[in-house]
Amino acid sequence: MRDTVLLLAMNGLIWGLIIALIALGLSVIFGLLDIINIAHGDFFMVGTVLAWFSLSATGNFWIGFIVAPLIGFIIGAIIQRLVIQPIHGAAALSIVATFGLSLILQEIVRITFGATPRRMLAPIQGTVPLFGVDYDIYRLFAALVALLALGGFFLFLQYTRLGIWMRAVRHDRDTAIAMGIPAQRVYVLTFGVGFALAAFGGAVAAPITTVDFRGGVDVLPFCFMAVIIGGLGNLPGTVAAAVLLAFLEGLIQSFADPTIARISSLVLMSAVLLLRPQGLFKGFAK
Amino acid sequence: MSEPVLRTENLTRRFGGLTAVDNLGISLAGGRVHAIIGPNGAGKTTFFNLVTGLLSPDSGRIFFRGRDITGFKPHVISRLGIKRTLQVKSVFGELSVADNLWITRQARHRFLHPFRPAARDLEAKLQVEQTLEQIGLADLAARPAGTLSYGDVAMLEIGMALIAEPSLLLLDEPTCGMSPAETSRAVAKIRDLARTIDIVIIEHDMDVVFGIADDITVLAQGAILASGSPAAIADDERVREAYLGRPEDEDFVEEAAHA
């Protein structure tokens, strides 16, 4: 019994780190462009599919770690330019646009990849004894990669030119423009970055979950929970919330239905929305 | 002495480190037109926001005809008879000019009938037509309010204030952005209204202020710097220093005050 709890809790923790990556992508899109991106779960799903295709094409799993975010970035940038920009990011219309996008992505994957879910073999097989439980090596590895990616992303935001621009535009758009920052370009690149983060999360998660055209549907609400509970615009908060929520859900799953776990997270999210919409974690507010 | 129309006690409101309204104790008597003037940031609009319930005070109380309205919600205060115009003109852009007036008239009732066709309310229709004549926008009645010129929007706002039959009317820079012709029209209208309604007006245009105000209160940094009749204010050294400051304005004020 204790082993199951430990196992599920650790799975939750690791999954939380991966989701944190994806949720960061959503937070960046939501925080900067003010768009409720319904297709974000599908961005993750596309990442898993890209990983699958690059593995089948080259026989090398690791290539996926590069291919997925790269192609994801490009697709994201194109989408922003073609779809989001013409509607000037108008709120309600962008929700409909991202909903349409979600359908399109799912169908394109269904056409190219097929409708049957498939499993990907982990590149590293085997287990390692941890806290008295034999734990899957790849999961540990995935957690490490996710942590590194998270760290890398925060470094990116702090020190690269695009990262600084993104933070500036989010903080005060008009001043940023007045100072010569090309806001439109930042939006395009931001959407690309958001897609890339989610796709990378997908590539990392592919061996742990199934590759399936419906794979984004479950991830989406979770990302929103992390973003809302963590606090809109609060990136570290989003990461903390993602990890915490996944960990809690893992814990609850050890003695109750996974559905119950999901319902409790949703109830928590409602409470946050109603009582403290700026999120539970203090920090860099919008 | 009768109860003042509007009275505040120790009214204070801060925004972070800035004290926008500082222990304000204003008392405005009925039957007169009051102007509130002062440099930018003096707290004038904040004062209006506090009175109309858009902001709640950090401390202090607000009394409307003797009744404590501190902390009431905006729509409740509106129903009590206090109406205002906004500094940045704000009407219902997608509704027609006539509909703007119509809905303002309807909002006086607690209950909006869900099934009776709006067109049947003849009393409201009549009022709308009369008000359109009064503010001179009868030709533009069917146009969406968002397509109107700035001056016309300002007149529409005044019309909306009118049709609601307010007991106290707060005008926030009503002539801001108006051409001279529009300004005279607006001033005439306000003078007209002042015969039956208590009015408090925030203004920067000294011509307008000295033209219609019976009493002037000068605010600076959230507190009363001076108050009294237009002539008294025009002569007041402190006011000139804090607000007017420049010789050209001094002469102008003298002229306007003794006009």
Partner: protein
């Protein structure tokens, strides 16, 4: 021909068509299209619930499927578990949808724009998962199948919804009644209040409108429309399933409404018709019709954000302005757009 008479002509034509469907369609094409049109009517009522909130009050709800689900389950559970007959089951469905709309609206309507949209989804997801997990009551994702009690007896004859013609007319009657109610509300003082709030809620509160209460009223009315459509759906399919409470269902209704024309009476009907017809025609040849739905949604928001009916109204207005000689006497534009 004036715009008014053109539109009245179209309305009469459409009404005649709708009444003639059970005889006209089988003569022209497959019988099966009668049930498609029935379905279209039901879903367009659902889309109207989205339209009432978004098009007239400015609140985008992505969770109307929740109230649809309550209407649907109210009927299914009422008939299957409680053994109710037709009208009480119908009543139960509508009442539970109304109650749920009131309870959730009290909380949801307090929130601003983005958070409102999000919480409507969250509420619907919570109940979706509850429905999935409470299998004994709701049949979970597989759903409940039930058989229909007779609607009423007249002398010796019994009318029941298993007769497709009667079913069609019943649905047509209920949906028309709901559209009529919506028409009255939109043109009433309450409806004008809604428009004012949608336009400028700050101004609205300053003129004395209680924004919170008015939004709540609209929310409950929308819940009513969604609940009725859910109940009709249960009767139509003799089936209820949790999958109809999922956010994708709500999302499709939003797309139908916006493509058809939000803020117009018949926009939802046009949008729903378009998408369901496309679905039926395309899916018999190609299984990826969702691709077309997605593409249309995106094209619509880029090129025709006011929707089909919105475009129509725009053309009509411009034609009218060109033809008009002198400006007419000031008219109060108190009629809502079709």
């Amino acid at each position: 021909m004036t715009r008014r008479s053109l539109e009245i002509g179209m309305a009469v034509g459409a009404a005649t068509f709708l009444v003639a469907v059970p005889w006209l369609i089988p003569a022209l094409t497959d019988n099966f299209w009668v049930s498609v049109i029935t379905e279209i009517l039901i879903w367009s009522l659902f889309a109207s619930s989205v339209n009432l909130l978004f098009g007239y009050v400015g609140l985008l709800s992505f969770g109307q499927a929740l109230y649809f689900g309550f209407g649907m389950y109210g009927v299914a559970i009422g008939i299957d578990h409680v053994g109710l007959s037709f009208w009480p089951a119908f009543g139960l469905g509508i009442a539970s949808a109304l109650a749920m709309a009131l309870v959730s609206g009290v909380f949801a309507v307090r929130l601003s724009w983005h958070y409102f949209a999000i919480i409507t989804v969250v509420f619907s997801l919570i109940f979706y998962f509850l429905a999935v997990s409470m299998k004994p009551l709701t049949g979970g994702d597989d759903g409940i199948n039930f058989s229909l009690p007779p609607v009423f007896r007249l002398g010796g004859s019994v009318f029941s919804l298993t007769d497709p013609t009667f079913q069609y007319f019943f649905v047509l009657a209920v949906v028309s009644l709901c559209f009529f109610l919506m028409y009255r509300v939109i043109n009433s003082p309450l409806g004008k209040g809604f428009l004012a709030i949608r336009d400028n809620d700050l101004r609205a509160s300053l003129i004395g409108l209680n924004v919170y209460v008015l939004r709540l009223i609209a929310f409950v009315m929308a819940g009513f429309l969604a609940g009725v459509s859910g109940a009709l759906f249960a009767f139509f399919g003799r089936y209820a399933s949790a999958s109809y409470m999922f956010y994708q269902v709500s999302g499709e209704a939003v797309v139908w409404t916006i493509v058809g024309g939000a803020g117009t009476m018949f926009g939802p009907l046009v949008g729903t018709t378009l998408f369901i017809v496309i679905r039926e025609i395309v899916s018999s040849h190609w299984e990826h019709h969702s691709l077309i739905v997605g593409l249309l949604a995106i094209l619509a928001v880029i090129f025709a954000p006011k929707g089909i009916v919105g475009l129509w109204n725009g053309w009509m207005t411009r034609l009218g302005e060109r033809d008009a000689a002198a400006p007419a006497k000031p008219r109060l534009t108190l009629q809502a757009e079709p």
